[in-house]
Amino acid sequence: MDIQNRKLIKIATAGSVDDGKSTLIGRLLYDTHSLTTDKIEAIERSSKQRGYDYLDFSLATDGLVAEREQGITIDVAHIYFNTDKTNFIVADTPGHVEYTRNMVTGASTSQVAIILIDARKGVIEQTYRHFFIANLLRMSHVVVAINKMDLVDYSEDVFLKIKADFGALVEKSNFSEEQITFIPVSALKGENIARQSKEMPWYVGNTLLDHLEVLEPEDLQESTTARFPVQYVVRPKTEAFHDFRGFSGKLYGNFLRVGDRVSVLPSGNETTVKSIHFFDQKLDSAAPGSSIVITLEDEVDCSRGDMIVKVGEEPRSEKSISATICQVNAKNLRVGQKYILQHGVNRVLAKIDLIEAKVHADFSGAEESDQLKLNDIGKVQLRLSKPVHFDSYHSNKSNGAFILIDEGSFDTVSVGFIE
């Protein structure tokens, strides 16, 4: 197996400071032989310096100097490991109340969330928040890893109690039961991480690693409608490709085939897919997730920011949208403010028309608010300078999300999920 045919699974981890999240990831790295001797030696050295009598795997992932001093992670870190069949990317995000921003960011590029619960503490307010975000982002799978089982005598009762408590949360969410998996683990001791635990014979499910390995990559199973946002027009102007005018971009949602009747938005001009290229190969069809170049039968107007879709599968095109927004910048969002809205690769100007409500990120309802602060989530109505071609986030993730960019600093200040 090599890079061409190993599947890629992207994971976001969430947990409170003391739930042992970094230890869990360090353990996954260690058990998949992804830690090199020099890294293990560094961990041994640091663990010893701090006077620990065990290997502190959390040191494998805690990155920046400031964090090492505080002993907590403060941003999204990306960690990589692989087994024979699967490449994994972990977006490790901190679990404090004030870091919703980072969790949303990490979850946006992941298909599965691992939510950590300390077996001694059970479901706490943090758990609600983590699950709320997994639900908001409509992640495909959630693994509830009930950690530190070694500290509760590997008790099945404790596990069942937490599972039942969590079940009450699942009912409030959009998830079906099949999307949620509960695994009792001890990251420190390696129980049910890569090795089936002998301490918990009552648990007959997969280990964490086995469970992650049987998942299928999200973009391949996604089967909505094909969306092809044009990134860049390829015009070689060479002798061999004198009249070549190709539209490059990444394909989302579904397959596109040569001969498909397509519509170019915003003009709405209809034409046919003439050819599909990937580097020097000519393809008959392209799967979602492909970065390709296509040419069209007719000379239609088409440039960056336009979208090519199949005829009869047109998205909504509107100048006024309702969205759930998460504020990811310290500058507050207020009614009347203007932003640059980036939807995929397309940018338009946007104005906040109304903040309907600030949503409590723990399933406890909503309240009125005239602004959204960093880490706040709210329902917002926006008016746009030009229509964008979108789907609801619910029906098509890649075409239902956007970011807001501050007109002065150009910082990314919000992320939105279209209703």
Binding site: T36, V65, V104, S290, S291, V345, A401, F410
Partner: protein, 298 residues
């Protein structure tokens, strides 16, 4: 019917490179002659084919590169018809902007920063594409794909733009520029397997060869006029290869008999020492990389 299944990491990198070409006015690809920047060139070819790569290559030459690397660079540029800009650390030294390090661990590696920042200013580059990967080093694990730098090339880890889904925000103010890392999500093994699958040519020093070396601090150093050596450090001939091709002064070799790509990939899979373990510049202190990044190192 040919069913084409995309390699997700390759597709992501191509997407990023196209965003660079579309969002910036004067992008440049920082080319070191190493396997990561060679991989970037292949990805850029794929992103824009059948058109040419729409940005030049910039090589910041320390003057202490392996001659095999320079030869390779010139050959590649010629073959693909690319534009190559070379700026020399020696010139920065001659202009008195930086001072050559002395002694046992003397290296021009950290001096590159000044030459790079000068080149960015000279050509008004607004995006510098680099081959850094998040798996290389702890401080890199939190690096963004589009990393905004100020006038001084500085990186502020507390003030980075969140990157959501695959939407890249490359809007910058005057004086700012962006470092772009299209293979952020690749591992060392991913790169090697890709080079093998794609059959990409790489400099000969990546393969095992006989070389005059000496041992210091458990590392294998190249013995030649650029690398400081104590009289008692004895030169011997060994079969070695390199896992990275930085400067001769800061790149240690590993003992190896792998003379083909298959053998190299097999060795990397088995290997238990990280690639940066052979980077002498990182060994100076635990926080070495982070400190260098803050002052504009790539």
């Amino acid at each position: 019917m040919n069913l084409f299944i995309p390699n997700p990491k390759e597709a992501e990198s191509i997407h990023i490179l196209r965003e660079v070409a579309a969002q910036f006015e004067r992008p440049v690809l920082l080319f070191s002659g190493g396997k990561d920047s060679i991989t970037l060139v292949r990805l850029a070819q794929k992103a824009f084919y059948p058109a040419k790569i729409p940005f030049p290559l910039l090589h910041v030459d320390t003057g202490h590169n392996f001659p095999e690397t320079i030869e390779f660079r010139d050959q590649l540029v010629k073959e693909l018809g690319l534009e190559l800009i070379v700026r020399n650390v020696q010139d920065s030294i001659d202009q008195g902007k930086v001072r050559e390090e002395k002694g046992r661990y003397a290296s021009r590696n950290s001096l590159q920063t000044t030459t790079l920042l000068d080149a960015i200013e000279e050509f008004k580059f607004d995006a510098c594409i680099g081959g850094a990967r998040r798996d290389e080093e702890k401080a890199r694990a939190k690096e963004r794909v589009f990393s905004v730098r100020d006038d001084f090339g500085q990186w502020d880890e507390k003030n980075q733009r969140p990157e959501l889904f695959d939407m890249l925000n490359g809007k910058i103010q005057v004086g700012q520029n962006v470092r772009v890392f299209p293979i952020s999500n690749w591992t060392e093994l991913d790169v090697w397997e890709y080079i093998r699958t794609e059959n990409i040519a790489i400099p000969s020093i990546y393969f095992a060869h006989k070389r005059e070396v000496f041992f210091r601090d458990g590392l294998i150093w190249t013995a030649n006029e650029y690398v400081y050596r104590e009289p008692h450090e004895k030169v011997i001939e060994k079969w070695v290869r390199f896992r990275t091709v930085g400067d001769m002064t800061c790149t240690a070799a590993v003992l190896s008999e792998a003379t083909s790509l298959d053998e190299v990939v097999a060795e990397i899979r088995e290997s238990t020492i990280s690639e940066r373990g052979a980077r002498i510049d990182d060994k100076r202190s635990e926080a070495a990389m982070e400190t260098r990044k803050k002052v504009g190192y790539f």
